[in-house]
Each structure stands twice: as C-alpha cells, then as structure tokens.
Amino acid sequence: MTSLAGLAAIPLRTEGFWTDQGGKLGFAAVAIVAFLAVMGLVMFLADNAPKKGRDVIQLLLFILPAMLLLTAGMIWPALSTMWQSVTSKAGEFVGLDNFVTIFTDPTGQVVLRNTLLWVVFVPTISTVVGLAYALFIDRARGERVLKSLVFMPMAISFVGASIIWGFMYTYRSEGFPQIGLLNQILVWLGGSPYQFVETPPWNTFFLLVVMAWIQTGFAMVVLSAAIKGVPAEIVEAAELDGASAWERFLHVTLPWIRGSLVVVVTTITISTLKVFDIVRTMTGGQYNTSVVANEMYTRAFRLGQPEIGAALAVVLFILVLPIVVYNIRVLRQHKETH
C-alpha cells in the first residue's frame, strides 16, 4: 500500500497534468482500482498458500495490513503521547507535574466540569430523542423523509453546525431588532433577549446542544433499524396479553435493542469527548466554555505547550477508560454465550 502511494505521489509533485480536475478524479479512481487489485492479490495468495501453515499465513494476510497501519499511526503516537505527558518541554522526566499544572490551573477545573457535562448530556439527549423519534415514526407514512430531516445535521460539518447555531443564538439588546431566532421568539413571547453563548454556566449547555443536535441523527438511524429487528410475533403476543404501549416498549423493545443502545451510547460518548471544533468556533473556549479536547488543541498548537497538551490527552484517555472496560465486559460475556 505504501509503495503504491509512493508511486502515485510522484506525479502530484509536478505541475500540469494532475492539477487538472479531471486528472485528479482519475487519480482517485486509479488509486481505488489499484488498491482493490492489491487486495485481490492478497486474497489470491491466501487462497494458494501452502497447506502447511496455511492458517497462519491466512491470518497474517488478513490482519497484518490493518495492524501495521494502526501501529504506525495510533499505537506509536499514543505511547509517545503518554511519555510526553510525564516529561518537561525539554524532555526531562517530571513525573506528574504536568497533571498538577492542569488540575491547579484556575481554568482547569472549569474545563473538567464542562467536559463531564458534555459527556453526560450529549449521549443522553441524542439517544433519548433519537430513540423516541425512531419509535414515533416507525412504519409511519413518509418515514424516509421524516428520518432524513433529523439525519440532516449529520451531513453538516462541525464548523458548519456551529455557524448555524451561532445564527440561532445571536443576541441584540432589548429594544434593538433581533436577528437571532431564539431571541426573537423570547421577545415575541414578551421576554427579554438572553445571551445564550456568553452567560455562564448555562452557555455550556447551549453549546453541547449543538453536538446533541448532530448526533441525534446517528442514534435515530441506528436505533430505528434495531427496532425494526424486533420480531412482530413477540410484540403481538405482548399486545394480546394486554400490555400497554409503554409496557411493550419497556419489556419487549428495550431488551431487544439493548446491544444497539450500548454501541450508540459508546460511539457518541467517545466522539463527544474528542470534539473540539464546536467550542473552538463558537466561543474559542471563552466564557468558561472550554472542554478538555479544545484545551488540548490550544495548549499543544497555539500556546506551544505540547507537554500540557499530551497530559490533557491522557486525561481524555482516562475519562474514556470506564466506557472501554464496560464494552470489553459486554464483549466477553457475549463471546462466552455465543
């Protein structure tokens, strides 16, 4: 794969042909075809591996490409980040000093508190709303269109979404014409305009709503598919037993889609912890809204403190650890019963 990329990269270095747009598309097509050809070759080799040790050869061919890439691109950086988090800028071992800096920094505690708020509320809102919506529109007329409406935010980049919500939250003082919809509604209802983004502590909530708005589409799509997997017989049986809609949901649907719920919550939680674009675009971390991921980016790239950035990355890692452990347990139980 690397040799392929290396070869293909050469023409890009020179002016002319590849700068042509059609050429670029052709380049992408060639790359895909070449990649698939290489994979075909791998399959061929696996097919024709000598009988002796065939299993090992096949295993390696299947697993090595991914593992090599992961080692170079993730495991190695993860290890070096961990090492960096316990060293000074000059590279000397300093123990937990960088962590002490984070936790004693005046803004550090606010950042951690905000991160916890994000990680609690974003998965909760997204999953609850996504699930409710999926249930409500299940088998409804125009289901596909209804789904697309809620899925749409997924198609918008974080920066784009932040801009959209920036417009929603825009504030003008009382007596001035409002250009943000939410404040206009407040004024229509006879209230006073409110600075959604600038007023702590609730502003963190208004920012995380943006992430929840995006992720709901994901939760809805996945859970909707899971709900459709619930066998009709069971639902009907429950119905005959006189179970109410709520009881049917609680005792039939919910247990059935439990596995999907775990995946949805896990995936949203992890992306929530990693997202920094929203905070960066909407407030730049001001007004007490920063989160660990944003702080990490700022420290490592803007303030020239890569060691603090690394320590923050490790904090993120520790925050996600419980989720990983939980998933591993589920996975193991599952393996045993399977």
């Binding site: 992408a28 992961l70 950086p77 596909r144 784009g160 949805v264 996975l331």
Partner: protein, 310 residues
C-alpha cells in the same frame, strides 16, 4: 450502527423470527396522536436551524446582517448572487468552490473504500480465525478509538516525510491518514456484525472444503453488504466533513485542500462575508445528503439479514 449491523444477542428468544414474521407485520404505530405530535415537534426543532441557513443563503448581504431570516415572510427579497460569488474565480488563491468540491471527492472516495476493506478483513480474522491473544489484540484495537487525533498528527506526518516515502502534502497521505484513523471504530463495528453470522453457516462452508479466503469472499462479504453500506455512510460523512486531517496531510494548497477548508476560510478571514459563508456551507451539505438518501435502504436491509438466523 450495530443494529443495522449486529443482530441482537437476545436472539435466544424462543424461535427467533421465522421467515413469515416479516410478512405478518402490519402497519401499526406504537402510539397514536401523541406520537405523531411529538414526532412533528422533534422534526421541526431539528430542521429549523438548517432551514434558516438555507433561507439566508439566498438573501442579500445587507439583509443578512440587519434582519432575521424569518422577515422574508413580510419582506421577500431573494438573490442567487451568493452562489454565483462562491463559484466564481477571482484569482489564483481564491478559486471557485468547484475546485475544492472536486478535491473533497478525490479525498473522500478512496478514504472510504480503503479502511472498510482492511477493517472487514481484520474483523473477520478477529471473529473467525482463532489465534492466541486474539481477544486481547481486539480489545486493544477497540481502545485505540480514544487516541485523540491531534496527538497522532505529528508522529504520522514524520513517517510520511521519510525520504523513501515522501508523500506529505499529497492525496495519498490524506487517504492513508484517514484509513488509519477510521480502522479502530470500523473494525469494532464490523466485528460486531461478522461475529453474529451463525456458526452453522460457517461450518457448512468449511465442510465444503472452503478456506478462510474463500469463506470471506463467498459468505462473509455477501452477508455483510448492509453493514458495509452503513459503515460506509458514516465514514463518508466523517471524511467529507473533516478539516483537521486534510489540513495537516494535504498541505493546505488549492491543489489538494477540501471544501471544509474553504468554508472555514469564509468564516475565519473576513468576519463579514456571512452571505458567502451561508452559500458555501450549503453547497457542502448537498453531497452527504445525496449519499444518505441513496444508501438509506441498506439500514433496513441490514436488519433483514439479521433476522434470518436463529
């Protein structure tokens, strides 16, 4: 995602879903009017912000700055100027959005195909080729999801800049980077699905004398199409909307930079080009929406595949 992909563990319900189960399913709503009402409320709440952007992108610049988009009801004025402006070329460094659009496509397609292929193979190996330490390596791969991207950028770029590779600032660099960053989640999700393929199906193939490569091609890939489609959608969306990875690995020139970089520039530099920003942002969402619409049915198919096994 797993629902589309992974049939639920609770399958040990008495007789699972017989093939007739689907047919018997009648059009029935969970609840009645309350459900409809709340569905409409949610749909409206989720659509209005985007709708506001859409309306704004057709408004003249002075209007955008001075009045809310809902005022078009009383004071309609529309223009296509914003769209013509973003698609016109005013100089070497301020090219038409079209160039960035192409770049985004060139980045996104291979960056979707590559990781899914590799992840599918690895997921199969983890699920069906028993080897020592299999579950521990799999757990490690899963845990890699939490490595923050930002921390992986510099070490990876160092590798790309080795003289024997030297691909920093080219499309292949972006593809490989995206491939690597996508692998942990994709392997995890696809593994969920593949490991649920009934053992007897696999055993039957083995009895026929098929080796792993053959099983992978003849059994696993056909059965996994819905799962592949779902994962593909999300990978496509992720890559299409990514700014950071592309910026670092593509070098940020007009030859390789994606649409998101251009949109960020409208937001960043000028502070007052809201009208261009709205139009550009909207152009950026069109392709992901098309992809979603065209692959949406696979989400439903995914569950059908799941219900065939007991």
């Amino acid at each position: 995602m797993s629902a589309a992909i992974a049939p639920e563990p609770v399958v040990d319900a008495p007789d699972g879903a017989s093939s007739g189960g689907k047919a018997k399913r009648v059009k029935k709503r969970l609840t009645s009017r309350t459900a409809t009402f709340f569905a409409i409320v949610i749909a409206t709440l989720w659509t209005i912000p985007t709708f506001g952007l859409f309306v704004s992108s057709f408004r003249p610049d002075t209007d955008i700055a001075n009045s809310g988009w809902w005022t078009i009801i009383t004071n309609p004025s529309f223009t296509l100027d914003n769209y013509t402006a973003v698609f016109s070329e005013s100089g070497a460094s301020s090219a038409s959005l079209g160039v960035y659009f192409i770049n985004s496509i060139v980045i996104t397609l291979p960056a979707t195909v590559f990781p899914i292929t590799l992840a599918l193979m690895a997921a199969y190996a983890f699920a069906w080729i028993p080897f020592k330490g299999s579950s521990w390596i799999f757990v490690l791969v899963f845990a890699l999801q939490i490595v923050p991207l930002q921390m992986a950028l510099i070490p990876l770029l160092k590798i790309f800049n080795y003289p024997w590779l030297d691909i920093g600032g080219t499309f292949p660099a972006v593809w490989i980077a995206h491939t690597i960053f996508a692998l942990p989640l994709e392997i995890f999700l696809l593994h969920n699905f593949i490991s649920e393929i009934p053992r007897d199906v696999m055993e039957a193939a083995k009895v026929d004398g098929a080796n792993h490569a053959q099983i992978f091609r003849r059994v696993v890939i056909p059965l996994s199409v819905p799962a592949i489609a779902s994962v593909a959608i999300f990978q496509f969306l992720w890559v299409w909307n990514d700014l950071l990875v592309a910026l670092v690995f593509s070098g940020g020139t007009i030859k390789t930079a994606p649409l998101t970089q251009r949109i960020a520039e409208f937001a960043g530099t000028r502070g007052n080009d809201w009208e261009l920003l709205t139009a550009a942002a909207f152009v950026g969402t069109i392709v992901p929406l098309i992809v979603f619409f065209s692959l949406q049915r696979y989400f439903v198919r995914g569950l059908l595949a799941g219900s065939t096994k007991g």
